[in-house]
Subunit: 339 residues, 2 copies
């Protein structure tokens, strides 16, 4: 499915890197997908209906792929990484469902969001169900460390999302505030996904920590690219509406930079559109022009490349094998989603 | 705090039973409360602000009391029951926060609900945070069984809530459908709260199962009483708005009974007000009259007494001590909340 998406959007090396991971881990990912389908069943039929709407709608399964690859990179030969990978995807899907309620966004992964079809109430509750299922899966693996890591990550994700809520519309937000938001809402789950690979393989702390840092940096690079795409992407490649962040008054890095570098009139524009939420025809186009004028998009991409390079470098300490190569490629080409 | 509430509402033996448990477990409940306050802290200040709004607003802490009493009934002398009790209260609070989003109810525990003050988005996310905190607490107790029980309970709670959503406005719902809803949304957490007491004490399966059944039956009795109070209660004693269920088109047992026993005209009334959601002045009063005319409230109370008696009887197999006496009283007087 990632292939179909990449073909449609004309994306290049980034899609190839994801595809390589998917090929390498094809049989385990098939088990993950089977487990996901099995565990989203419930006698309450609205649950699998609503959950499969999102979970089967063409996500790349990036986070479970990272868990599987991390485990295999660490020489893991058991089968618990499959359950952990499914748990990670359940947590991710739960946050998407709760995000849809939150953002009132009308589009996710190129389809109407679950909440516009079934209402906010069902989205919240099915998210809770998936969250619970994630913990049920983890319990079955008998890994106290994995449980600790994923429950910590869940708390940090929620903190990041609440922080995003409180920084929205607030043009005083600086790089540091922005980084705190994305460290929580995006990087924490990538970090947990990667770290659990080393944990389930019983590897020493140094390797657990290395994979954790890999996941963190990959997640940050990924989110930086997302924030640029929200201004430059086409709907077909992004799978959600371009301009969502702008409409919702989210203060992402491109905005932080352009606001600071702008003149008084430009700052007035950002104040009206983002702080006060008063937006009219042509405002989004103007926002994009201002971001480009001040090099805010280019600098955000540069920052993404810096984090991607850090992620790559961390893996040098692992033995050279096809899993390491694929994870390095995944990080290296993450910024290529832009082109 | 329970005392203040009971004095205000003129409640009787039920409040005395809760108070007896609170007195018996005063020092441990103080630890639970301290742990709750400690763990709802976060650098993201909106989280403790919003969470303490609900968690410090005079709840009776019934579920954590059941966990503590269950553990002590089973002779537990350690300290992990405190963390489990706090985890149970966190899960309960998380479901209330998500319920507030869901029900669009304007009042909970006599205060404006969190979502009318801070918005739906924050309520969802802070609920997620508390849910994560619950699992972090459980992980610290190193009890795989407790984790299994609480993650299972969370999934069943979500299923019950979704089922409630799909049965709302549906007058075809029968006793069985209604019981499935409340078994999930209310009884599952009482059951887990009670069972974990025996589990953490390392007691045999038979005792775990007995406490589980006690919690289930207590929870069902409790919910049946709640559903009657929604039609008969005064706002001050209920702590939420009388008539919420009616306004939201919830098909509770009193409605199931009155609808079935009513004539064609009465069924038309239920169809208009609950299925079609068309309600006007005087409709709630008429609904209450119809429930009384057909003995629907009395029969629901009778059912609550039946479950309360079952809960009491189960405890006969435990040694007679003050914890058993208090838990028996709690069940026996649960239906007295009505008067």
């Amino acid at each position: 499915m990632a292939l179909a998406i990449s073909a449609a959007s004309g994306a290049g090396r980034d899609a190839a890197a994801v595809e390589r991971l998917q090929t390498l881990l094809a049989s385990e990912m098939a088990q993950v997908n089977a487990l996901i389908l099995e565990r989203l069943q419930s006698p309450v039929t609205l649950i699998p209906q609503l959950a499969s709407h999102l979970i089967a709608s063409g996500g790349k399964r990036l986070r479970p792929l990272v868990t599987l690859a991390g485990a295999r990179l660490c020489g893991y030969a058991g089968h618990h990484h499959v359950a952990l990978a499914a748990a990670v995807e359940f947590i991710h899907t739960a946050t998407l469902l709760h995000d849809d309620v939150i953002d009132e966004s009308a589009m996710r992964r190129g389809q109407a969001t679950a909440n516009t079809v079934w209402g906010n109430q069902a989205s919240v509750l099915v998210g809770d169900f998936l969250f619970s299922r994630a913990f049920q899966l983890m319990v079955e693996t008998n890994s106290a460390d994995a449980l600790r890591i994923l429950s910590n990550a869940s708390a940090v994700i929620a903190e990041g999302e609440v922080l995003q809520l409180t920084t929205a519309h607030d043009l005083e937000t600086d790089e540091r505030g922005y980084m705190s938001v994305i460290a929580g809402k995006t990087a924490a789950l990538f970090a947990a996904a990667a770290e659990m690979g080393a944990v389930i393989a019983g590897r020493p702390n140094a390797e657990q920590e290395a994979l954790r840092r890999y996941g963190t940096d990959l997640g940050i690079a990924y989110q930086l690219v997302d924030d640029v795409l929200d201004y430059t992407g086409r709907r077909s490649s992004l799978g959600k509406n371009t301009g969502d962040d702008f409409r919702e008054g989210k203060i992402t890095l491109p905005v932080v930079l352009a606001h600071r570098r702008g003149n008084e009139e430009e700052r007035g524009f950002w104040r009206r559109t983002l702080s006060e939420g008063i937006q009219g025809e042509g405002d989004f186009k103007l926002a994009r022009r201002l971001l480009e004028r001040h090099g805010a998009l280019a600098d955000t991409i540069e920052e993404a490349r810096r984090y991607a390079a850090k992620a790559e470098a961390i893996l040098a300490q692992f033995p050279a094998n096809e899993y390491r190569a694929a994870l390095i490629e995944l990080a290296a080409f993450a910024p290529d989603r832009l082109f």
